[in-house]
């Protein structure tokens, strides 16, 4: 994964806790890197170690950490210079989710080592969407829930996300039911 992810985890820990907590997590994960380069690919294992160590240090489950991270990710990318690109993604939550796959496709063109997830969005009924999530990586479904919540905040929309299919439980891919209501 690109350093942008690891840097975002670092920022989230420092923002929600403090720098000492981050140092403890890094030490526990046995990571010697002082500063992650955001455009540099790092092994996926490093990110998994960080999440695991963070879970142990702050006393939350990995799933909770990833969900919080997904939510934080939207804020972080907005702050980190990708705001205009998020803006291009759409003016509303359904519009953005509709474009989400294209956004990732374009990213994969520019960052060949990115291996982004794939999203498919279908509107089942009014104010309800079904988001199909495909990823080569394991254990990031919770992050998607966080991402959708984060987008809800960004578009000032109330969301309720329910996972209806779980790859860890044998499904072909993860599916989320998103109920939304513009505030």
């Amino acid at each position: 994964m690109y350093g942008l992810i690891n840097k975002a985890i670092q920022d989230m820990v420092c923002a929600r806790f403090d720098k000492e907590t981050w140092q403890t997590i890094k030490q526990k994960a046995e990571i010697q890197i002082d500063d992650f380069l955001r455009m540099e690919p790092y092994p996926d294992d490093l990110t998994h170690k960080l999440v695991k160590a963070a879970s142990e240090v702050v006393g939350l489950s990995s799933s909770e950490i990833m969900q919080a991270f997904g939510e934080y990710w939207i804020q972080y990318t907005g702050k980190a210079g990708y705001g205009p690109m998020l803006d291009m993604g759409g003016d509303t939550l359904p519009e953005f989710l509709e474009n989400l796959d294209d956004l990732h496709t374009r990213l994969s063109i520019n960052f060949p080592q990115y291996h982004p997830p794939s999203f498919e969005c279908t509107e089942s009924e009014e104010n309800t969407l079904e988001l199909h999530y495909h990823s080569s990586r394991q254990g990031l479904a919770a992050m998607v829930v966080g991402l959708v919540n984060g987008l809800g905040t960004r578009f000032n929309t109330e969301v309720n996300v329910t996972q209806t299919q779980n790859r860890e439980e044998g499904a072909a891919h993860d599916v989320f039911l998103i109920e939304y209501k513009a505030i």
Binding site: G3, L4, D35, L37, R38, M39, A80, G81, Y82, G83, P84, M85, D87, M88, G89, G90, D91, N99, D102, L103, R106, L107, I109, N110, F111
Partner: protein, 474 residues
């Protein structure tokens, strides 16, 4: 080129080129892409293109013919109203005599996008502008990280530089302190050696001076009375001659005693004895004088003195060491004295220097004799040559050269170090030359050097200023 048989229907063309412009020979805009019209502040259709845009590249005026001539160029249009730039190519359609400008918005910063209110869906999917924007942002992010790393590196470099300066400063301080310590130790050694030698020489001087003083009085009795003794003896002898002349036949008892004591021999020998006593007394007188001269205890201050007198009195003290003994040959003293003016110095201390160097010279000769005796080498004549001269009218030079053992470079290098000695334990303090150096260099502003090599003897050359300056160490 094979022309395609199929073409896009208008609504798909519009989707494929959402930013296109079509204008005629009169330069009137007759069609505009939907997105371009949305984001452009002025209505474009039916307006003239030169009222809406200017051409940045190629460098031509907006003119249908000029544009047609550069049909294969990459065109950059700039909106006269909001500075928006369009990049694309011109396509001339002969049948309708119209020009298509197939273009897309050109951005080199993400802010422009926000200002234009463009969304992903506004771009044709094949349009690479969006990818370029993503790439641009990635580049900016990477540059930011590099800048941060550079700043961090610069900061660390500064810290390192400061740390190195502190370290250098500490090292310099440590070096200075070590030097000070070394100097202090050296000074302490010098002081210690001076104290020991001064005490030693002071004791010797006092002893010599005491003996000279004690002998001086009785010698004066003898020396002073010899004259009268000779006169009275001569008077008595004259009287005896007169008696012998006027009384040729003495009384038998007188004649018997005269014969018994061999008066004739006594009369002959008495004069010789008296002369001998006179010579002896004179010599004792001179010795006492030399002893007093050597000790110089009565001369604390610096004053002009006869250097030769100092050397001679020192030689007198060492006289017994120069003489022939059972295992040793006599050491010849060769004096090559020049005419020297009085030299301003501490006479007692300068004598001490002569004493040290001459003693060492004698020891070196005796040591060599011992070694030669062991090896069965035939004895050679031994001598110490003392040469004096005035140099440049400012210095007196005294050279004391022996033909003894000589010394190695190693020994020479440590010669003037306190407590350095080549003599057996108990026989040398290692202070003589160190003190001599102090006296000549520090106290008289002079120089002392040694020229020597193993088997070649040693020559000590002392130079002392004829006149001393006030600032010298006392």
């Amino acid at each position: 080129m094979n022309s395609p048989q199929l073409s896009l229907p208008p609504h798909l063309f519009a989707k494929a080129f959402p930013f296109h412009i079509v204008f005629n020979r009169e330069q009137k805009i007759i069609q505009v892409g939907e997105v371009l019209q949305r984001i452009h502040p002025e209505p474009l259709v039916n307006s003239f293109i030169d009222q809406q845009f200017q051409i940045l590249r190629p460098k031509i005026q907006i003119n249908f013919i000029a544009i047609a001539k550069r049909i294969n160029s990459l065109f950059l249009f700039e909106s006269l109203h909001n500075g928006m730039i369009l990049k694309g190519q011109m396509m001339y359609v002969q049948e309708q005599d119209i020009m298509f400008f197939l273009c897309s918005i050109w951005v080199n910063n993400t802010e422009t996008l926000a200002n234009c209110g463009l969304k992903l869906k506004d771009f044709a999917i094949h349009d690479q502008t969006v990818d370029l924007i993503f790439l641009l942002q990635a580049k900016n992010t990477a540059l930011e990280d590099i800048q941060k790393l550079t700043d961090e590196l610069t900061k660390r470099q500064t810290e390192l530089k400061n740390a190195l300066q502190v370290q250098e400063h500490l090292a310099q301080t440590a070096k200075t302190q070590a030097q000070q310590l070394e100097n202090t130790l050296y000074e302490l050694q010098q002081t210690q050696s001076q104290l020991i030698q001064t005490e030693k020489m002071s004791s010797l001087g006092q002893l010599v001076a005491g003996i000279a003083h004690e002998i001086n009085n009785p010698v004066n009795f003898i020396y002073g009375n010899i004259k009268y003794l000779k006169e009275y003896t001569q008077d008595l002898l004259t009287l005896i001659h007169l008696y012998q002349e006027f009384y040729p036949q003495p009384h038998p008892q007188i004649e018997a005693l005269s014969n018994k004591n061999d008066v004739k021999f006594i009369i002959d020998d008495l004069t010789k004895i008296l002369s001998s006593i006179e010579v002896g007394a004179n010599r004792i007188y001179e010795i006492v004088l030399n002893l007093r001269n050597f000790s110089r205890l009565d001369e604390a201050g610096m004053k002009p003195v006869d250097i030769h007198q100092g050397i001679d009195s020192t030689l007198l003290i060492l006289q017994h060491s120069l003489k022939e003994k059972s295992d040793y040959q006599p050491i010849e003293i060769i004096k090559e004295y020049s005419d020297l003016p009085p030299v301003e110095c501490y006479a007692g201390q300068i004598n001490q220097v002569f004493m040290n160097i001459l003693s060492n010279a004698i020891d070196a000769i005796r040591q060599q004799e011992k070694e030669q005796a062991k090896q069965g080498i035939i004895k050679q004549s031994k001598c110490i040559t003392i040469r004096t001269q005035v140099k440049n009218q400012r210095h007196v030079m005294i050279s004391i050269k022996d033909n003894g053992l000589g010394m190695t470079e190693e020994v020479k290098a440590k010669l003037f170090d306190p407590f350095f000695t080549t003599k057996p334990v108990g026989q040398g303090t290692g202070l003589g030359l160190s003190i001599s150096y102090q006296i000549v260099v520090k106290k008289h502003g002079g120089r002392i050097q040694c020229i020597s090599a193993p088997g070649q003897g040693a020559e000590f050359i002392i130079e002392i200023p004829l006149r001393q300056m006030q600032s010298l160490e006392t």
